[in-house]
């Protein structure tokens, strides 16, 4: 085993000693990755992971750097960006990724991507025609 492998093994033991906890958090993230387009109740997800809601949020943030709610928003907007870039109208894309309110989708989209859905589509079109 070389220096790097030893280092990784030691860090894993130190940072992620509770393997069952890691499994539960990874399961929760996998659930969001798979079912982001459906209504997701984070309280229920915490319960399914056998954790209290507050502990779940804290642990998820420690593992992934953001809360499950923030991560869900990011995943939805990432997928929406892909759909909008492929030509889907913003309203349709919002519904497709699990948003029922188009106005909150618009402001979140701009906040996370720096562009409005319309500006994303315009940039793609300009790229295609240039």
């Amino acid at each position: 085993m070389n220096y790097f492998q030893e280092h990784v093994a030691a860090l894993t033991r130190q940072l992620y000693a509770a393997e069952d906890l890691t499994e539960r958090v990874v399961f929760a993230k996998g659930y969001i990755d798979q079912f982001y387009h459906e209504p997701i109740d984070l309280g229920a997800l915490a319960k399914a992971s056998c954790l209290s809601k507050f502990h779940f949020i804290r642990v998820f943030k420690r593992y992934y750097g953001q809360t499950p709610g923030q991560y869900l928003k990011e995943v939805r907007i990432r997928h929406a960006k892909r759909l909008i870039s492929a030509g889907m109208p913003a309203k349709e894309a919002a519904l497709e990724v699990g948003y029922s309110s188009v106005s909150s989708f618009h402001s979140l989209y701009k906040f996370l991507t720096g562009k409005t859905p319309g500006a994303t589509q315009k940039a793609i079109l300009e790229n295609q025609t240039s």
Binding site: Y3, Q5, L11, G30
Partner: protein, 128 residues
């Protein structure tokens, strides 16, 4: 301020271009001859306008010592993110890539390390 370039030292630019494009799957973005070397960059096809990786020639002897020691210790020079590390591992193995670390879970990530044939260990990782 934005990060638009990152660089990696390579022993041979021609060989590196071959490995980083044909094996890893990146695309050549810029190739400008500069004396005996080139200003040579590659990008990910998933982010053609994203960060460019400069395949930098070994022009400074002390850097060679640094690169060799890093390689000997098994430390990756840099890391690339993948969606499915097990599939990528199998794909690269099939292309003859030499791994010093098989896909290994480290908490919520899975990492693997391989030889880029140009003097470096590279890491790929997946967020689980």
């Amino acid at each position: 301020m934005r990060i638009s370039l990152a660089s990696i030292l390579v022993k041979d630019q021609k060989k590196a271009l071959e490995f980083y494009t044909h094996v890893l799957g990146f695309r050549k973005k810029t190739d400008i001859p500069m004396g005996e070397h080139s200003w040579l960059t590659v990008v990910s096809p998933e982010q053609p306008d994203g960060v460019e990786l400069v395949l930098e020639p070994m022009g400074f002897p002390p850097a060679k010592v640094f690169q060799e020691e890093l390689f000997r210790a098994g430390i990756p020079y840099t890391a690339f993110q993948v969606d499915d590390i097990d599939a990528e591992y199998q794909r690269l193995l099939g292309l003859g890539v030499d791994f010093s670390m098989e896909p290994t879970q480290m908490g919520p990530t899975k990492i693997a390390v391989f030889d880029d044939t140009c003097g470096n260990n590279l890491q790929i990782f997946q967020m689980l």
